[in-house]
């Protein structure tokens, strides 16, 4: 019964029906926005990339496979839009937590002295890593996807995800220890 309902829902999506698309949009928009915010470190960029992600998703609906899992499918599109952004900019826009250093400094004086530098250090370390490794780390350890799901999102086998995650942890460990100042 659940499979039949899921199958009917996918069919509605493939026909680009408003109600079905609105359902997945409302269910996943906050997750996708926060994922893109974590990757980019910028509210404006996360807003733009979220918009681009759902527009791409809408246009891709007719090609949606009947056995598709919506969440990894959307994360795959979001990851591709982030990669597109990196290609366009030719640099990684990992910015400190918060949109500007000034904002961070102001927040830090309001009693978050311990937590804010920690968050900033994570962002700086991720910025220092190769994007594909940072994506793996965030999808697997922050967004909570399994190796299989991360593989679907990044177009890798589960075994390749495990290998990449192991190396990503090593990169992160070095970058985090030295404040992001590592050779790629």
């Amino acid at each position: 019964m659940a499979i039949a309902l899921e199958s009917a829902f996918i069919e509605q999506l493939r026909r680009q029906e408003d109600v079905a698309f609105t359902t997945i949009y409302e269910r996943h928009r906050t997750q996708i926005y926060n994922y893109l915010y974590r990757l980019s470190g910028s509210r404006e960029l996360a807003d733009d990339l979220t918009h681009d992600t759902f527009l791409s998703a809408y246009e891709s609906l007719p090609k949606l496979r009947p056995d598709s899992n919506i969440s990894p499918w959307l994360y795959r599109i979001a990851s591709n839009r982030f990669r597109d952004h990196l290609r366009r900019k030719k640099l990684i826009a990992w910015l400190p937590w918060g949109d500007t250093p000034r904002e961070d400094a102001m927040l830090a004086t309001r009693g978050e002295e311990d937590s804010l530098p920690e968050k900033e250090a994570v962002q700086v370390a991720l910025k220092a890593m190769k994007p594909e490794y940072a994506l793996t780390l965030v999808l697997r350890l922050v967004e909570g996807f399994s190796s299989e799901e991360t593989g679907v999102i990044l177009g890798l086998s589960p075994e390749a995800v495990r290998m990449r995650l192991s190396r990503a942890r090593q990169m992160f460990k070095v970058a985090y220890a030295v404040g992001g100042d590592i050779d790629e």
Partner: protein, 165 residues
């Protein structure tokens, strides 16, 4: 048995991605290997750091809702124009004539959607549209344009594209 200190295996161990026998091998190994024990601690600490970093979720900005809705509406509009542009000149003329006549002669048939919560209402609306088509063909004959069959010109898909369903 774990043959050597292997970071990939330790990473899989921390992620609980090993089989039970493999897991027991690693547990035995780290009890007697200080560097591997330290590495496991480091890997677990990285997991904790990233989990804490990702625990804060920002609220979704409402302005994005409007941007997404607006962009999708524009895409739909472009597709409607593209669909019209693919019509032959005669069919395009008939489509325009049909729209003008449909709006002016029988607007009630085209507004049935708002009151068609029941199947009976939808069928009544469909009948009204069918009646309108007869009138449209008559008007089109006077205008000298050829009207496509109801199935092609006024298919639900095309009506949806024209947003007059």
């Amino acid at each position: 048995m774990m043959s050597a200190c292997n970071r990939d295996i330790l990473s899989a161990f921390v992620d609980a991605e090993l089989t039970l026998p493999q897991r027991r091998d690693v547990e035995r190994h780290v009890q007697s290997c200080a560097p591997c024990a330290a590495e496991v601690e480091d890997l677990r600490r990285i997991n904790s750091i990233l989990a804490a970093w990702g625990a804060t979720a920002r609220p979704f900005p409402p302005v994005t809702d409007a941007r997404v809705a607006s962009s999708i509406d524009r895409r739909r509009g472009r597709r409607a124009v593209a669909a019209l542009s693919r019509l032959t000149p005669a069919a395009f003329g008939s489509a325009v004539a049909a729209l003008v006549v449909a709006f002016s002669v029988n607007s009630s048939a085209l507004t049935h959607r708002s009151s068609s919560s029941a199947t009976g209402s939808s069928l009544a609306g469909a009948r009204q549209i069918s009646d309108s088509l007869h009138r449209i063909r008559s008007q089109s004959a006077i205008l000298g344009v050829q009207v496509e069959s109801q199935a092609t010109l006024f298919s639900p898909r095309r009506l949806a594209l024209l947003d007059v369903q």
